[in-house]
Amino acid sequence: MILAENKAEHFEGWNRPELIAESGDGELLEVAMGPHHPSTHGVFRMDVALDGERVVRLRPVFGYLHRNHEKIAEGQSYLASMPYTDRLDYICPLTNNWAYALVVEKLTGQAVPERAEYLRVILGELTRYQNHASSIGFLIQEMGASGTPLMYAFREREKILDLFEELTGARMMVNYMRFGGCRVDASPEWLDRTRKVVAGLGGFADEFERLLATNEILMARTQGVGVLRADLAVNAGVTGPMLRASGVNYDIRKVDGYGIYNRFNFRVPLGDHGDVYDRFMIRLLEMRESIKILQQALNDIPGGPVISPTAKNRGIRPKAGEAYGRIEAPKGELGFYLISDGGPNPYRYRIRPPSLINLTVLEDMCLGSDVADVVLIFGSVDIVLGEVDR
């Protein structure tokens, strides 16, 4: 902790007076939360200036996990970056694979066979379900309910990770998608097992909701806390469940209809208040919508090849040009931007990380609230540092 006299120097470069709340007696206490704070989901630091218990300023500090993934990817072939995308948001490796494959397919003009599209949707929605379940678990854990809800979520996540392991050979570092399809086909037994697991997911969502949604402590801690206005959310590029909790109807699965999402029947849940409770509730509702998509996809999945016979993965040299593509990853809009100069390596490889950009509004949400709520508000953003720092 640093005494208040040092604050001017520490907050140097700060010239956004419209954001600085009025402080009481001017005695500020500066607290560095992180990078080894248990609630920061990894190595993230918030420099918080406190007036009593009230937050007057908050500055996120990044880079503790920076390894310049983009630079590394520009030095190797297109395919060689595929396993590296698993390490971005390591809770949801399959959606990272999907986003990258989608953009390279755009850049090279490759088509994806039906069965692979269905498999991608199935895996993407399983990923979304387990991400939302564990992110709710983490949120409740940070509220002080240590253990129980998180363990319930992880019990469910385990079943899904077992499915991933059986299909791809790895629980988290899956390296599964390829340009123009997927790496291996799913066996009929795997599909049966997945149907069985999906049949149980609804019961878990019910259990989770009964356990948490009307819990008095949870409601008292989260309702009206960390409110994010819809106009600010759009302007600050917030995406994913956070944006929809603020009441903005924007789901890239509906807007872009990438892959085959326009074939499925599902709703986009929206929040009213944009507080922590809404973000928690939107994730719970999205879990249910994921189950709906999963049931439809598992019902309709056709036979056929899982990677197109003309697909080219190794040694591709896309025509000079560029492509930007994005998907609705569990944490928000995950985009890739690639520029090719006709060579075997991308000239520019850029990741649009939802976790980093959703943190733009962290300070706005935290100003004026208690320091204990900062942990909650931060938890409700749902970030993974592998993606924030890249």
Binding site: F62, H66, K106, G109, N235, G237, G321, E322, Y337, R352
Partner: protein, 191 residues
């Protein structure tokens, strides 16, 4: 959704001095973009955000590109209200050594706040008008811009001089390189 040609003529109708050029993209993605002049970029960006037909209220992605003799900032815009996009705008610096200023679009889209800080950090483009332009990912004392294509990482960030002559020499070279102020010093010391 309007084509880039229609957007270009709409911009020129609203801001006659805009000087927008179309950058065509031969790749199968077919995403053509608009090159803005840095002098009028802020006005054009404001027009793109507020125009009734375009309403590009959502800046999805902002990034830098290092070309052989210039640096470029690229922005991907979407509309949440009209649900269309992307419209791609880009700006170029004069060179990549001493005239690397571009106007910041953070006053128009808050979303650019961290992303422009990242471009500044990794590419060294200076965004004038950015409210809080500091390094984002690298530490404060770090010199140089790692995403530039001519960046060479030091042999060892955490060097420890030992009794070996060769290591000592490398450590000295590293130290003098760190005392320089930017990429040109490093190039000179290598040459």
């Amino acid at each position: 959704m309007k084509t880039v040609e229609e957007i270009k003529s709409a911009i020129e109708a609203a801001i006659p001095s805009a000087g927008v050029e179309i950058v065509s993209n031969p790749s199968p993605s077919g995403q053509h973009s608009l090159r803005l002049q840095p002098e009028s970029a802020l006005a054009v960006a404001k027009f793109l955000r507020d125009d009734e037909e375009l309403k590009l209220d959502f800046l999805s992605n902002a990034t830098g590109v290092d070309w052989p003799d210039t640096l470029e900032a690229v922005y991907h815009l979407y509309s949440v209200e009209k649900k269309h996009g992307p419209v791609i705008i880009r700006m170029m610096t004069v060179n990549r050594t001493d005239q690397v200023e571009l106007p910041s679009l953070t006053p128009i889209w808050r979303s650019a706040e961290f992303q422009e800080r990242e471009i500044f950090d990794l590419y060294g483009i200076i965004f004038t008008g950015h409210p809080d332009l500091r390094r984002l990912l690298m530490w404060k004392e770090f010199k140089d811009h790692p995403m530039r294509r001519d960046y060479r990482e030091p042999d060892d960030f955490e060097y420890e001089p030992t009794a070996h002559d060769e290591v000592l020499k490398r450590a000295e070279a590293q130290k003098s390189r760190e005392q320089g102020t930017g990429i040109r010093d490093q190039e000179a010391s290598e040459a």
